[in-house]
Symmetry: C2
Subunit: 410 residues, 2 copies
């Protein structure tokens, strides 16, 4: 449905879906070369391509079941690099590890910290500016104060495209801070990482080549069928295998004739693992770099068109100029338009959003997400990640939104 605009993924890409059918019809799991020789080589090719896009000269990588897991892998790798003994002995008896991420970063850092025995209290939420970009000076302050307390800075998670605002953290400046203090830099590009494909927009991720790791969900803006999430590393060597591997004797026999280096399953936390890479590879082969670039640029164009329209339309208030393809706005119903900015207006706007959402869901013609962020009460978010969405769709969708909104009394 073209007007499903609820989350970061929209539409169904026919080419990607064909790739999915192929991969799944063969029902394979890609832990070893013997069970999935072709898929395994395809996975390597896609990982190499992504490393190239990042400018990682020597690297490694793995596909994960979702962006959350990719980020957790990065945390685990950073921990293992500082102290490999944690793998066998656990974190007790070692320094407390601290994770740094912006105050609008994805919640997977929190889930990960809890799951991995670090504890969610041990995340330093670095202040972001009003656009949602991490402030490098605040990061440095937080690292210095962590060290002063005797704790160990574990990893900095920078975000390229935050979930709600679509903000890009300034990677180059953050990399300076990480370099100075010797801290692992992970770039969470789950949502916005697709700009790496666009000559026009990739400047937003300037400095990514200095990161230690990068995660990206190709099932979001790229339109690959869910799931297709990758983690790539900017390091040669077998860190992934050493960190995650347990060399199960029934899968990863060292006496195989083809050399155990081809078996990548031990790099993963999972055992049965889908051939997600094939879907991306199939789309890449079918569409080519140029068409994929054009699709990404098209989505950014739509976001710009949408922002331009809303800026000049009565009753709509654009919250920020979009950096990614998220367009965030308030809709102020006619009855509230004479109210000045203040608690009364914001209280009513906050309550208006769930009512309108209910109208959307019950009418079934349009889906859009609302949420509060920091001091901003419930606002709406148009997101562009469907390559078949057109300017005509956009105009119709805003009209539809307004019509539904007008049916609600507040």
């Amino acid at each position: 449905h073209p007007f499903f605009n609820n989350q970061l993924w929209q539409g169904v890409d026919a080419v990607g879906l064909a790739g999915l059918y192929l991969a799944h019809s063969l029902k394979t799991s890609i832990y070893t070369y013997e069970v999935a020789p072709v898929f395994l080589l395809v996975e390597n090719a896609v990982l190499q391509k992504i490393q190239d896009l990042c400018g990682f000269t020597e690297g490694d990588g793995i596909f994960c079941p979702g962006g959350s897991m990719s980020n957790m892998y990065a945390i685990n790798l950073a921990r293992y690099q500082i102290n490999p003994e944690v793998k066998t002995r656990g974190v007790r008896g070692y320094q407390q590890s601290i994770i740094f991420a912006s105050d609008v970063s994805h919640y997977s850092a929190i889930k990960g910290a809890s799951f991995m025995g670090i504890g969610s209290d041990n995340i330093e939420k670095v202040k972001s500016d009003d656009r949602g970009r991490m402030i490098p000076d605040e990061l440095e302050k937080a690292i210095v104060s962590t060290k002063a307390k005797g704790d160990s800075p574990l990893i900095v998670i920078a975000t390229s495209g935050t979930t709600v605002q679509g903000a890009y953290d300034p990677l180059d400046k953050i990399a300076d801070v990480c370099e100075k203090h010797g801290v692992w830099l992970h770039v969470d590009g789950a949502w916005g990482g697709s700009v790496l494909l666009s000559r026009q927009h990739k400047y937003k991720m300037k400095g990514v080549h200095r990161a230690d790791s990068f995660s990206w969900c190709l099932h979001k803006m790229m339109g690959v069928p869910i799931q297709c999430s990758v983690l790539v590393l900017n390091k040669k060597g077998d860190l992934l295998k050493r960190c995650h591997g347990v060399s199960a004797s029934y899968l990863f026999q060292s006496d195989k004739f083809y050399g155990a280096g081809y078996d990548t399953g031990d790099k993963s936390l999972q055992c049965s693992r889908l051939a997600d890479a094939f879907k991306a590879w199939f789309m890449w082969k079918a569409k080519g770099d140029l068409l994929l670039e054009r699709e990404i640029d098209h989505k950014f164009d739509l976001a710009k068109q949408c922002a331009d329209m809303l800026r000049n339309r009565e009753g709509f208030r654009l919250l920020w100029e979009p950096e990614c393809t998220n367009v965030c706005f308030w809709y102020i119903p006619p009855s509230l338009r004479n109210l000045p900015d203040g608690p009364e207006l914001f209280d009513k706007l906050h309550k208006f959003a769930p009512l309108l959402k209910q109208e959307m869901m019950t009418s079934g013609v349009l889906m859009m997400a609302y949420q509060p962020v920091k001091d901003k009460v419930n606002f709406w978010q148009m997101i562009f990640s469907n390559s078949e969405f057109t300017h005509q769709h956009l105009v119709k969708m805003i009209d539809l939104f307004e019509r539904l909104a007008q049916e609600i009394e507040i």
Copy 2:
């Protein structure tokens, strides 16, 4: 390919594949009721069905990306139940947690212990008997000695169907021990849990209703397309949500009109999550309980036929009577048949296996797995999990195996 017999999953189930096409063509992710209302209700129905099979009177559950993750979830839930503060404060400063599992249990406990900050050294590998079944007295000894050391017994992971031997741990006796010592009992039925569908074989899991949690991969013996792994809990209440939840404001708004109880995404570590439950539901609806039972029984019959054939066939030596559908055996080439049991024979058998595997892979007509376990050198494993595999296939496969084996000089 009927003779792909390399791992725990074989063949492609047409009904399951159709379910997969349907679920994936809609490209949805089931974190909230608003984005996947039907799939979410289907997931609940399948979880309820599995709780009923286990005899869990009040329960909860979630689908996970693979059996390894299901087991890790169980570990995290047990930890959270003992001490909810670990979620926010991390494991430092608390007692060392110890995981108990048999010495032939699945490696996911090791991966999980490392990833979750517990440390793989803190797994007590409880001795199993020569069939691979955990010895309850040994478990009790291990728990007592853990307590004496001042450490905290965290969880007992019993296995219903070990990966290689297909052994079923004696759940009732293990439950006695767990009850006595107040330790969480998790049953890892990833492979052998399918006997719950069979009136003839479910006695192997007697006592499962006393477990705190149970994990099962429906993509293994049940034949659902990969992946389809479930964790169910024998507890009412919102333990999963409290343990894993972070209430992201952009997804799980508390002001939704339909009540946030329908949104299950926060029970998971993942964000984007596939509608895996639908594949199982679709097969269940299409085939019904009886046909599924017949398929499971058929696989067990095949294993019995296979064991009977090998027991009487020259050059083959059955290692154990099969408890599950894994048939483990040595093949002794003609040139070695006059050797007595001893280092020379075993050394040669151990080296023979990878040579034969190479022959299988390069000829492309047959795939079978070999591995060593404890004191047994490399042996072969026939596994039955393809419902379209017949007695005729079996005969042909053993002949083929022998023919390939005879081409190898040792």
